[in-house]
Amino acid sequence: MMNDFILFLPEFYFTIAALIYFGLSLKKTSEPWALQKWALTLAGIGLIVTVAASRQQGMLFFDCYRVDLFSQVFKVLLAMGTFWIIFSSSELRGIDGRQHAEYYFLMFICTLAMMMLVSSVELLTIYVAIELSSYSLYLMVPMRRNADEFSETGVKYFMIGVTASAMMLFGISLLFGATHTTYVSQIITKLPALFGQPVAIVGLVLALAGFFFKLAVFPFHIWAPDVYQGSANQVTAYIATASKMAAAALIIRFSALSMGASHELVNFLIVICVLSMTFGNLVAIIQKDIKRLLAYSSIAHAGYMLMGILALDGRGYAAAIYYAMAYLVMNYACFMVIMKIADDGHNLQIKELAGLHKRSPLLAMTLMMGLFGLAGIPPTAGFTGKFLVFAAAVEKGYLWLAIVGMINATISLYYYLIVIKAAYLLKPVQELPAIRIDRWTHAMSLILVALMVYLGVFPDQFVNITEAAAKSLF
């Protein structure tokens, strides 16, 4: 029993945190900065707890819930993402002060849900976890204050989300019918035999649709641009970093369990992957709003992750995990800069970056490193991630896929360079004051830059961890 408790410790902890903030949200008035400070503390402890529990292994709840290195790695990533987002929620002007408590409450709930997501191995559990995380996001997105032009975001996100989840549920029901079980492991064992009959196929595709919706892979990406653009910067950052982790983990686990899945499945993944990369990068070229641009780039990056996943072997999953890790860091670096610059919570346009290198060289450098990382320029983490992913794909014989990926990387470099150009080159229209950054942010930017370079240059131990995690999948 005690052992089980240890296994469940991170989730339990975050439940407590959520409850605390639920209580706080009932209060009439509360100091935003105090809320943030406490939330930060809680998240920090949560991170420590998660790290502490990272070596646990075992099954819970009648084998619906699997705790292994894979899930724990992702839980660490989730906790870290949450911690970072809360860290830079210090100026949460995008959301009405009265709702801050709820904001943190929902964020903890969502983190909890996603933690459950990454270790649940049973369809109902997965479904419940997905819904839980989605619901909290549905509520976080429309929280944005005085943003009339974005008021539609919430409802769009909601509608797409529920549709997708309905499709997924229907798919799950069919899978259940086809395989008479809801345990993914058993389903997978039975599935290859059933690829003949439509029921299984339809079920699988519909179920995958729900997962891809979380990861925002083409064509289930349609919510992403609007949501990224329409919700408060912090929320966007949260969706772009933490929830991406969960989605990636979900898909990795699902396809990892589908060992020996049919050739069609792989082809399907390839198609999706190429489409996502190409679509995301092409459309990103013409964006003016940075958050929307990053939305499209995130679609492309989902494609890159898929490239690792579709290798369907240990190295591939390891690559994908590493990629997710790198993506978390780089993407957060970019968003942190954005949140700092747009500290009044408005939507940042690319041209507003003009003269950033004067206003705050450090932030400019962080942004540049982050973007170069996303573009896959060595020696940043992004390059190593791409390298591993391509290596996995080529090892499976998809040389052309790697070439397509690299061409896409070149295309993506174009719009990243446009942003960098704005930050380093353009003269601002009117002289803007220097951005003052507290020493924490200062430290954080340095840490992020260091981390990106370190991940890129000394990937050895991380690669080992990811490979161990990938092994723990089977």
Binding site: I201, V202, A209, L282, I285, I286, Y414
Partner: protein, 646 residues
């Protein structure tokens, strides 16, 4: 290293040939702002060089076999190149000629160039030139020779374009460099082919190669002709004649240096240098002979129409070079070399004399000079006449002997046409050179004393006449005049000197002097013909320009088209210009440039544009209308199902 000090010959060679380079370096780096010092440095170094050259001349005479010093320079794979000196009678003689002429010219320049803003630069380039030239002469391998040959070209480019503010000057320099480059590429290719086919570029080895029979005649012909391209370029043979007259844009001493003994003679020198190799291929010799002849005649005709002193000498240089090539090609090895020697003397003399006139009267037009009383300048007037006499082959001047030798060589050819061509050339030469002399001596309508101007600038020169500068110019001229007078009588000693030990050469030349063993005409007759050809030319010139009430315009002026043809250099320049403009500039270049901008670059930009447009198109997929997006999503899911089921 210490080997250098052991061997006096080597020591002399090293010192003599490297001092000019040092002086150049010193001048360029340190003493640019001190003209006097620069000139002193340069002159001393060249004097030393000349002395060393003379020493070597003597040494080589004594030696039984040629001196050869070599040291590894570079090696790549199985291709090895040595840097070295090869001193045999020929190179020793040539070295002496070069050093002496360069020396005299530099001394002369002390006067001529005095007060020029680019004084230091001038001497730096002079030294560079002397250095390159001397090293070329004594190079031990063909490639080393080529290297310094190129440097000679470079130095002459600098010297010809010395007055670089003048567009024509820089143009002429460029023209000289590029046109000789055309030939050099052939030369270069020839060297490469020799490397690949024969593998050894040592000059004596090349000369002995035909005997050993390691290489086929066809190969020899090809290589020889390619090398001959270089000769054509440097020695301004047909069709690459026209750069040389333009090269007169340089200061007169430069013309004297370049066009008497050194740069342009380099081509002929190379020819004689590997003469046995050439001789092994009758076809190559024949072609060379033809080219030499054509060159000589064309150049002489051109010389008949111009009124520019230096131009006349330039053309005559070309024609004389043609002469030498002819004689070499006809197997007259010694004759060619001997004419090279004598020509060096009297052509330098002629140029330097005209230099004095030009310096005095600030014009190149012979008529003007004559009008302004050119004949009053006794020293140059006498000397120039001596030179002209030598040039037109009048005994007892040096030119006479060498020309006779050449005619002898031509005479030995089976086909008499070459001999007659040679005689005709001699006639033309005599004609145009005395046309010039008479222009100076008996100007049209006598001398008009333009007191105001003339007084003043003659007054300006008054000091000079007695000052050192004038003598700096006069002395070298006199020396050369004496040389011109006496050199001819040294023919036989020289012959003995050159032919000594040159077994291959002897053999080759006897082999090459084709069919008619006893010649077309007898020896005595030949001498008479030779002299008479010259005299006829002089007399004709006298009738047209010299005698009282002469018409003062040549018989050519009765045939305007011909005159025009000659005056326009047989339209060769026009042809080159046309070729350059149409084929290169407005042809390939513009096409390629457009291709670069439009097709290649345009293609790249097109791809980028295409990508961006693709982005715009795809972005329509993200319509604002929620349900369209949902529709897409559902459709793709449906397609995926079909993809699986089907």
């Amino acid at each position: 290293m210490d080997a250098i000090f052991k061997d006096p010959v080597l020591l002399a060679t090293v010192v003599g040939t490297s001092l000019p380079f040092l002086s150049m370096a010193v001048i360029l780096i340190f003493t640019r702002h001190n003209p006097m010092l620069s000139s002193r440095i340069s002159v001393t170094s060249i004097v030393v060089a000349a002395v060393c050259a003379l020493l070597n001349l003597a040494k080589v005479a004594g030696a039984s076999h040629p001196f050869r010093f070599e040291t590894a320079w570079m090696s790549s794979g199985n291709f090895h190149l040595t840097f070295g000196y090869y001193l045999d009678p020929l190179s020793a003689l040539m070295l002496t000629i070069v050093a002496v002429i360069a020396c005299l010219v530099q001394i002369y320049s002390l006067g001529y160039m005095s007060g020029d803003p680019g004084y230091s630069r001038y001497y730096a380039f002079q030294s560079l030139f002397a250095w390159a030239m001397m090293n070329m002469v004594i190079a031990s391998t063909l490639l080393q020779l080529f290297i310094f040959w190129e440097l000679v070209g470079l130095a002459s480019y600098m010297l010809i374009g010395f007055y670089y503010e003048k567009f024509s000057a820089s143009q002429a320099g460029k023209k000289a460099f590029v046109m000789t480059r055309v030939g050099d590429v052939g030369f270069f290719l020839g060297i490469i082919i020799l490397t690949l086919g024969f593998g050894n570029l040592g000059i004596p080895d090349l000369n002995n190669a035909p005997g050993t029979g390691t290489i086929t005649t066809g190969f020899i012909t090809m290589a020889a002709l390619l090398v001959f391209c270089g000769v054509v370029g440097k020695s301004a043979q047909f069709p690459l004649i026209t750069w040389l007259p333009d090269a007169m844009e340089g200061p007169t001493p430069v013309s004297a240096l370049l066009h008497s003994a050194t740069m342009v003679a380099a081509g002929v020198y190379v020819f004689s240098r590997i003469f046995p190799f050439f001789a092994a291929s009758p076809n190559a010799m024949l072609i060379a002979l033809a080219i030499g002849t054509v060159t000589m005649l064309l150049a002489s005709t051109m010389a008949m129409t111009t009124y520019d002193l230096k131009q006349v000498w330039a053309y005559s240089t070309v024609s004389q070079l043609g002469m030498m090539v002819m004689s070499l090609a006809a197997g007259g090895y010694f004759a060619g070399v001997f004419h090279l020697t004598t020509h060096a003397g009297f052509k330098a003399l002629l140029f330097l004399c005209s230099g004095i006139f030009i310096h005095e009267y600030h014009t190149n037009d012979m008529r003007v000079i004559g009008k302004q009383g050119g004949r009053k300048q006794l020293v140059p007037m006498i000397c120039i006449t001596v030179g002209a006499l030598a040039l037109s082959g009048v005994p007892p001047f040096s030119g006479f002997f060498s020309k006779e030798a050449i005619l002898g060589a031509l005479n030995a050819q089976a086909n008499p046409i070459w001999l007659f061509a040679g005689l005709f050339g001699a006639f033309l030469t005599a004609y145009y050179s005395f046309r010039l002399i008479f222009h100076l001596l008996f100007p049209k309508g006598g001398i008009e004393e333009k007191h105001a101007v003339h007084e003043m600038d003659s007054h300006g020169h008054k000091e000079e006449h007695h000052g050192g500068l004038f003598w700096a110019m006069a002395v070298p001229v006199m020396i050369l005049a004496c040389v011109t007078v006496v050199l001819g009588f040294a023919e036989h000693s020289l012959q003995g000197y050159i032919m000594a030990g040159g077994g291959a050469v002897k053999h080759a030349s006897t082999a090459a002097t084709g069919g008619a063993a006893h010649g077309v005409v007898g020896h005595e007759l030949l001498v008479i013909l030779g002299i008479s050809a010259g005299l006829v030319g002089i007399i004709l010139a006298w009738f047209e320009y010299g005698r009282k009430g002469a018409s003062r315009n040549g018989f050519l002026s009765y045939f305007p088209p011909v005159w025009k043809l000659f005056d326009a250099r047989w339209y060769m320049d026009a042809f080159f210009r046309w070729f350059l403009d149409t084929a290169i500039y407005s042809g390939l270049t513009s096409i390629f440039t457009r291709n670069d901008r439009r097709i290649i670059d345009g293609g790249i930009d097109g791809i980028c544009f295409f990508t961006e447009t693709g982005g715009r198109l795809f972005s329509f997929m993200q319509s604002g209308m929620l349900q369209y997006n949902l529709l897409i999503m559902v459709l793709v899911a449906g397609l995926a199902m079909l993809f699986f089921i089907v």
